[in-house]
């Protein structure tokens, strides 16, 4: 079963009297352990596509199936549950909760989903170990380096065992060397769990870490 199937997805916004096409009949299929790099300049529609795939936005038209679940017609409450259970996000600016430790930032996902506390703690500890943060779990974000914070964000995205991980510009604030380390880490972690992922980037130097790349421009996916 594909991790993601988008068929003829359109997204339009109204801006005054005019209609702006953010995504134009986008169709995309992602295998269940495939990593896709979505490449395009600012304003090309890549964030819109990522948001629709992650249930943050609903499409104006078209079908979106994630992990076998059609989400294009879900209401806000169902989309909240879908995001909690089916997808993981790594945000551009990491966005950890500043007063929670690294371990608690992972457990937030489990607490929101009311998962078994003991199992969740074990999973958080396992993820932290695998992310080489085993001895940093009790540290607050401001006590971690930029790379460590990025790794905590990755751990948070994997905490709910998602069908699809969505990663927004993971290297935009990093120099080339650190950017490559982060990309390597992300792809290793995602691949080792046979999870699908979309990595949005405008940096074409990073695309070789993905299984394939798709370009997007003016809301249109390259064939």
């Amino acid at each position: 079963m594909p991790a993601l199937e988008m068929t003829d997805v359109r997204k339009t916004y109204r801006s005054g009297d005019t209609e702006v096409m953010a995504l134009d009949r986008a169709s995309l299929t992602l295998g269940d352990d495939e990593i896709l790099a979505l490449v395009g300049p600012s304003g090309s529609g890549k964030t819109t596509l990522l948001s629709i795939a992650g249930g943050l936005l609903t499409p104006s038209d078209g079908s979106v199936v994630v992990g076998g679940e059609e989400i294009s017609s879900l209401d806000a409450k169902a989309l909240t549950r879908f995001r909690r259970d089916k997808v993981g996000f790594v945000f551009q600016s990491v966005n950890l909760v500043p007063f929670l430790t690294a371990r608690e930032n992972l457990l937030v996902v489990a607490e929101m989903g009311r998962r078994d506390a003991k199992e969740s703690r074990q999973r958080a500890d396992t993820l932290l170990d695998e992310l080489d943060l085993g001895d940093r779990g009790g540290n607050l974000p401001n006590q971690l380096s930029g790379g460590e914070r990025q790794r905590v964000a990755i751990g948070r995205a994997l905490m709910n065992e998602p069908a699809l991980v969505l990663i927004d510009e993971p290297t935009s604030a990093l120099d080339t060397k650190l950017g490559e380390q982060v990309m390597e880490l992300i792809t290793n972690e995602v691949k080792s769990r046979s999870t699908a992922a979309i990595i949005v980037t405008h940096d074409t130097r990073m695309t070789h870490y993905a299984d394939r790349s798709v370009e997007i421009s003016d809301g249109v996916l390259a064939a």
Binding site: L57, F91, V97, L100
Partner: protein, 365 residues
């Protein structure tokens, strides 16, 4: 909700401003309530402690005990009304007193009574008095001889009783003849003959409706009496209704201000944390979970403010001069606590619209 609690524990300083403002409001509410209770209790003790259900005044007194007089004939008519179980004469006189011939003057309400006052024994011997414990603050002790009024009528305090003040003056409970002697001394123009009282306390039969008995008494006396329930008699005391409604309005406004403090603080917090809440919503938190966290924080901050404010109010109550009628009652503290918690929940909930409007997509755009 755990996130909210952890933030409270790890970043208490963020809530210091709101907590301080709420603490001051709690102190204000407790002191205002304490003053209201002190004024009310100090003005109404004589009436609240009546074991009878009704009190009768003369009709021309306009329901003021000091203007009322009821003679033996009227009392006999009251005794004969169906539903009346027993009657007790009561009279009061406001006088100054000196302790054991000293020069310091105090104020007291001399209460002549025949019985049926809660917590007070049968009337003492002539020349003796049971003293309201609030007179302790005026230097009175058991065994002291007090000289009452301009003619310095002597009475000896034989024991303490509680909560029998009238118009903020501690009560000195004496048998009727002693009261008449003091009344004649303090107000010769208003002296009363034997058998005449200012008020008749009326105990009704257990199965009788006190309001119907009151109406029957006034009918039986041909309109010469005005018979009231205890609650109505308290409401008729000079200033009691006015001071109660005034203080209650101030207290209500203070609760509204507390609610605004909570609402504004958490509205500010929500605006400040829009990005954080956007991320939490993006990873699966519902608006309800975020709001529950905010309300939890509002309730915990308010509970802390109540605890601290309560300690401060208790400390202030200890240093308030005895002449200020401040009484901190547990029931008042409970009222303020419940009121503040309700205010916190309502104030915190006012951020609901803001929380709902936070777009999870903002986390990624």
């Amino acid at each position: 909700m755990r996130i909210a609690v952890r933030e409270l524990l790890r970043r208490p300083g963020r809530f210091a401003v709101a907590g301080s403002a709420l603490t001051l409001l709690v102190v204000l509410l407790l002191l205002l309530g304490g003053l209201l209770d002190g004024l009310y209790l100090g003005s109404t003790g004589l009436f609240r402690q009546q074991e009878s259900q009704l009190v009768a005044y003369s009709a021309d007194s306009r329901d003021a005990i000091l203007r009322s007089r009821l003679d033996e004939d009227l009392r006999s008519e009251i005794d004969g009304v169906d539903g009346v179980e027993a009657t007790y004469g009561v009279g009061v006189t406001l006088v100054g007193f000196r302790v054991d011939g000293g020069d310091e003057m105090g104020d007291a309400t001399v209460i002549g009574y025949e019985g049926a006052i809660s917590g007070v024994p049968e009337p003492p011997e002539p020349g003796e008095a049971y003293a309201d414990r609030r007179l302790e603050a005026e230097g009175v002790e058991v065994g002291d001889t007090l000289e009452l009024g301009p003619e310095r009528v002597p009475v000896t305090v034989v024991d303490w009783v509680d909560d029998v003040a009238y118009l903020l003056q501690g009560g000195l409970l004496v048998e009727p003849d002693t009261w008449r002697e003091v009344l004649a001394s303090a107000r010769p123009d208003a002296s009363l003959p034997d058998g005449t009282f200012q008020m008749i306390a009326v105990g009704t039969d257990a199965d009788a409706d006190p309001e119907q008995v009151a109406a029957a008494i006034d009918d039986a006396t041909g309109g010469a009496t005005s018979t009231l329930t205890i609650d109505d008699a308290i409401a008729a005391l000079p200033g009691v209704d006015e001071q109660t409604s005034t203080f209650n309005q101030i207290i209500t406004v203070t609760f509204v201000i507390a609610g605004l403090v909570v609402a504004l603080f958490f509205a500010f917090v929500t605006v400040e944390r829009t990005a954080q809440y956007g991320v939490l919503k993006a990873i699966g938190s519902s608006s309800g979970q975020i709001l529950a966290g905010l309300v939890t924080q509002a309730v915990v901050v308010t509970a802390g403010a109540f605890a601290l404010g309560g300690v401060i109010a208790l400390g202030l109550a200890r240093i308030v001069p005895p002449g200020i009628p401040l009484v901190l009652e547990p029931s008042r503290a409970l009222f303020v606590a419940i009121g503040m918690l309700v205010t916190a929940v309502l104030g915190g909930s006012l951020t609901l619209r803001r929380v709902i409007r936070i777009d999870p997509a903002s986390a990624i755009s």
